[in-house]
């Protein structure tokens, strides 16, 4: 599923014009990206949470050449799946 399919599904379920569903979807995605860019976390009950981890700079190696390189400090977002979603993606397996 890509963004336009998500927008179409939302439009259909909420009986909304596609254009409106698109603005809503974009607002949600932008708000989530901005939150993570500020270092905030996101927690959607039943779905999952996004947390930003900060890494200091470190001396790494180029795995191909073995050459030492300095890796700049960086921030990366991580997703942790929520309990309900985690259980439900595994439901079909049990049947």
């Amino acid at each position: 599923m890509n963004k336009s399919e998500l927008i179409e599904a939302l439009a259909e379920k909420m009986q909304l014009p596609v254009r409106e569903a698109a603005s809503i979807t974009n607002t949600i995605i932008d708000t989530m990206s901005d939150a993570l860019a500020q270092g905030d976390s996101i927690e959607i009950r039943g779905f999952g949470s996004f947390v930003v981890k900060e890494y200091d700079s470190y001396i790494g190696r180029n795995p191909k050449t073995g050459e030492k390189i300095k890796v700049a400090p960086k921030k990366l977002p991580f997703f942790k799946v929520g309990k309900d979603l985690r259980e439900r993606v595994n439901e079909n397996r049990k049947k």
Binding site: M1, A9, K13, T25, A37, G39, P77, R86, V89
Partner: protein
């Protein structure tokens, strides 16, 4: 500055503010969009949001593990997990 935690409530408020949708409808829209994403992942399909990232359902192989309390060896059955790969744009946004 203390780090905030964005929940459905804040997302509903953002929709309300930017699009003039009432707070209550905003909450319903947020719930619906995550419900759609949830159903998609439960059906085993990935979600690719170009600006944000990709959520995929991956199979994890069974492995030998131990009960941390008793130390007893056991097989952890194969299972599925949801993983997230941030888009290049999101990674750049976090580090700019």
């Amino acid at each position: 500055m203390k780090k905030k935690n964005v929940t459905r409530k804040e997302l509903a408020a953002a929709i309300n503010e930017k699009l003039g949708v009432s707070q209550r409808n905003g909450a319903e829209l947020v719930d619906k969009i995550f419900a759609v994403m949830k159903e998609t992942l439960i059906s085993g399909e990935s979600i690719k949001l170009v600006q944000f990232g990709t959520l995929t359902v991956r199979d994890k192989a069974p492995r030998r593990g131990r009960n941390p309390r008793t130390g007893e060896a056991m097989t952890i059955t194969k299972r599925k997990m949801v993983s997230f790969r941030p888009s290049k744009r999101l990674r750049e946004q976090l580090n700019s």
